[in-house]
């Protein structure tokens, strides 16, 4: 096998190389007679997309694991260089498709930083409302799919098929799309809230609070669920910080760090940071469950104090040319810090764009986390760190 290009330590090889080639041998020592290599993915029901994990098994115990990403690579960051600033907005939806609003927001924030425009207050509030609604929707998918990974099918249909559907309906009314919204635009939002939308959103908040209790009864405190998740896949606080883990996964390990707490926009709202101590699968689950509660509080307050005014700043609709320079904007995404680094040379197109995708950094944890656990735990650990392959591979 020839030496493959790429920086040291990255997994950048063909499928054969991973199993028999030098790369796999350096990742895990040669396979002994009592061990077995198991190829989990890229087509596997619980890898949440096209992730491939090569597992080395001793019976059912994992002695080594190598995650292999890149099956969904579309070159989004390169595509940005061939699109105008406002055209690229629709591609950000496709990165983390479970919280597309926050992706829009992160990108638009970076462009607005370059333009040095300020967003109207009403638009900021609408961004908070839809962003938090989308965070709730994303965590609902997490709760549902985590349930499926553990083997409970019903919570998925409650979280995904019932509650998230209401959010999708709300977004559909808002912008006509149910998954990839392109609602948050450079300088504001696409349009104002339609009539009666606020009432519906408020009704949803009440409904969702009731439903959280239902999830607790059905899943969160189920003894089998606790048995499957408590103490499994422990991520210590130091390790999480060293690996650059952010978001709910970090807060589950006991580090109280939430970008929203440092954001002046969010300082207008009263909410708590969801933090848990031990960093196991159950804590990662519960942090998200608590975050739904806090997001609902933010949504409620934002709906009640929504100011009036414009929803779009005065910026050119076409031929938008930000001044040459660079900007970085990051916000608390549903999976961690979602950052967009943008370089402009004064043209209508970005010169270079990079997305700091939290899922990509989370997936790098797998090799460390999976060792020593059983096959069944692979699924719960993989499910609990919550990756979206669209964002991992970009």
């Amino acid at each position: 096998m020839s030496e493959l290009p790429g920086p040291a330590g990255t997994i950048n090889a063909s499928a054969d190389d991973l199993i028999t080639g030098p790369l796999f041998e350096t990742k895990c020592e040669r396979i002994s007679e009592t061990e077995m290599l198991l190829n989990m993915g890229p087509q596997h029901p619980s890898t949440h997309g096209v992730l491939r994990v090569v597992l080395k098994l001793d019976g059912e115990v994992i002695t080594d694991a190598v995650p292999d990403v890149g099956y969904l690579h579309r070159g989004v960051e390169k595509l940005a260089e061939n699109r105008t600033f406002s055209q690229f907005n629709i591609l950000t939806d496709r990165n983390d498709y479970l919280c597309a609003m926050l992706n829009n927001w992160a990108y638009c924030g970076a462009v607005e930083n370059l333009l040095k425009t300020s967003v109207p207050e009403r638009a900021q509030y609408i961004r908070v409302i839809v962003g938090e609604l989308n965070r709730v929707a994303s965590h609902l998918v997490y709760i549902g799919t985590f349930g499926i990974d553990i083997g409970a099918f019903t919570p998925f249909l409650y979280a995904f098929g019932r509650e998230r559907e209401i959010i999708m309906d709300l977004f559909e009314q808002l912008c006509g799309a149910r998954l990839t919204y392109n609602f948050i635009r450079i300088g504001g939002v696409m349009s104002d809230l339609p009539e009666g939308w606020i009432d519906k959103a408020q009704k949803f908040v009440g409904h969702m609070r009731h439903c959280l209790k239902e999830y607790d009864d059905l899943l969160s405190y189920n003894p089998i669920f606790l048995d499957r998740t408590k103490g499994i896949g422990v991520l210590t606080k130091d390790k999480a910080i060293n690996c650059g883990i952010t978001g709910p996964n970090l807060r589950a390990s006991g580090a109280a760090l939430d970008l929203r707490k440092q954001d002046p926009l969010y300082s207008k709202f009263d909410f708590e940071m969801a933090v848990r101590e031990s960093g196991d699968c159950w804590d990662r689950y519960m942090v998200r469950r608590d975050e739904i509660e806090q997001s609902l509080r933010i949504i409620e307050q934002a709906l009640n104090t929504l100011p009036s005014g414009d929803v779009m700043a005065k910026i050119p609709k076409i031929n938008l040319r930000p001044p040459a320079g660079e900007s970085y904007y990051q916000l608390e995404g549903a999976r961690g810090w979602l950052g967009v680094y943008l370089v402009s040379n004064g043209d209508v197109k970005p010169y270079r764009l990079h997305i700091r995708a939290p899922s990509f950094i989370n997936v790098s944890l797998l090799q460390e986390l999976l060792k020593g656990w059983k096959i069944a735990d692979v699924v719960s650990i993989l499910g609990s760190i919550d990756i979206v392959l669209g964002e991992v591979d970009r």
């Binding site: 029901p45 083997g151 019932r162 309906d169 519906k200 499957r228 069944a376």
Partner: protein, 427 residues
């Protein structure tokens, strides 16, 4: 207000209103009533012994048949009599009718069992589809067969029959081929000694032992399927299935021993007869009402049966999330459907045995003896089947090492203690 897409699309209909949900609950009760009430009326009209009705109808038809044959032979004899010939004496209505009578009555139980094992899975699948759907705020199949999708399992069955039978290139052909047969065959055999109501097809003296022993054979087929498919996931699934079924067999057998001690027989109809009658004039003598021992036995039996039939929360062998449905990953079409039928056949078998051993089988509740015994039997069995479905759609899956711990460290000791308590109480 600026123009937006909502003006084009109109207001979105909220998918879940309270009225909708309430309407669905009311609807499911209506469906249940529409199913149960006519069936109940029919069975009450038919009475305790449908076999007698069958015999009456059958002997009437046979009489007509015999008369027609005799007439034919007479006419034919009159015809050939002109030539001086005559048909042999055995060609008479009485002889042929007698032969048909014997053949039909001999084959009837076999045909019945075959039909039961083929059709019950379809019924249970439909029940599972609907029950799961209503637990998950869905409606389930609503179109096939018009009335609440009753024909969905048959449509699925036809689809599976028509699919291509794929065998992996490197599979062990014979093992792969025989595995579904070996899984399904014991299911057929096990139905023989089960009394559906008051009569069993074969009333074995060791019926209980026979059913428990033969149903344990299915694990061989699972192992074969796991090994023969030449796939790592199926091997893991097969090994898990073997370990699980062999382990849970032990507490399962031990948990039913108190019943044998109490009834003094291993014959299933004997155990059922022992449970007829009432304690103190109101409490049925079902074994589940036997103080302490009955309840412990029942719980252990229920748990181990769920594990034996590889259903959630013990469906490790076919864990979809981890093992991509385990030992039958590499099966398609008819072979897959045989595994499917076998699973539901074993579910029904386990539930039927549970109903017989703990819920009195065909024994009625007090003052409700006017409902025939087979209705009681099927009612109790389907209640247990519903419990299985309920478990499946409520619980997550347990982990493999915890499964073994649960069996050896919890169920087995308690089932042994249970026998000791039973011995003390029955002294």
């Amino acid at each position: 207000m600026p123009k937006g897409p909502w003006e084009v699309m109109g207001p979105a209909v909220p998918s879940q209103t309270d009225e909708n949900i309430r309407g669905r609950y009311v609807n499911s009760f209506k469906v249940l009533a529409a199913l149960v009430i006519p069936l109940l009326l029919l069975t009450v009209l038919v009475g305790e012994d449908p076999y007698q009705i069958f015999l009456t109808v059958f002997s009437f038809c046979l009489g007509v048949f015999v008369w027609v044959i005799d007439l034919g032979v007479k006419i034919a004899n009159a015809g050939v009599g002109l030539l001086g010939w005559r048909f042999p004496a055995w060609l008479s209505g009485a002889h042929i009718g007698g032969l048909v009578h014997h053949v039909v009555l001999f084959l009837l139980p076999f045909v019945l069992i075959l039909m039961v094992v083929q059709l019950l899975p379809a019924v249970i699948v439909w029940m599972e589809l609907k029950a799961a759907a209503h637990m998950q705020v869905r409606l389930g199949p609503m179109r096939v067969g018009r009335w609440h999708g009753w024909a969905q399992p048959f449509a699925d069955g036809i689809k599976l029959f028509l699919k291509e039978d794929l065998v992996p290139a490197k599979a062990n052909k014979w093992t792969h081929f025989l595995a579904p047969v070996i899984v399904l065959a014991p299911a057929y055999i096990c139905y023989a000694p089960i009394p559906f109501g008051k009569t069993a097809v074969v009333d074995l003296d060791i019926g209980l032992l026979f059913v428990l022993a033969v149903s344990g054979l299915a694990v061989v087929g699972m192992l074969m399927a796991g090994w023969g498919s030449n796939n790592k996931y199926t091997v893991l699934g097969g090994l898990r299935a073997a370990a699980q079924v062999v382990s849970y067999e032990i507490p399962r057998v031990i948990s039913v021993l108190p019943i044998v001690m109490w009834a003094g027989t291993m014959s299933l109809s004997g155990i059922m007869t022992a449970q007829e009658g009432l304690y103190a004039g109101f409490l049925p003598k079902w074994f589940i009402f036997y103080p302490v021992v009955g309840q412990i036995s029942f719980v252990i039996y229920l748990i181990t049966t769920v594990a034996e039939t590889n259903r959630t929360p013990f469906d490790l062998a076919e864990a979809e999330a981890e093992l991509v449905s385990g030992f039958h990953t590499e099966y398609a079409g008819i072979k897959f459907s045989i595994f499917f039928i076998a699973e539901y056949a074993y579910v029904f078998l386990g539930c039927a045995l549970g109903a017989l051993l703990f819920l009195g089988g065909g024994a009625p509740l007090p003052f409700m003896g006017w409902i025939p015994s087979y209705v009681w039997f099927f009612g109790k069995t389907f209640f247990l089947v519903f419990l299985f479905i309920w478990f499946r759609w409520t619980f997550p899956r347990i982990r493999v090492d915890r499964l073994m711990e649960f069996c050896w460290k919890f169920l087995l000791p308690w089932s042994l203690v249970n026998i000791a308590i039973a011995g003390l109480l029955m002294l």
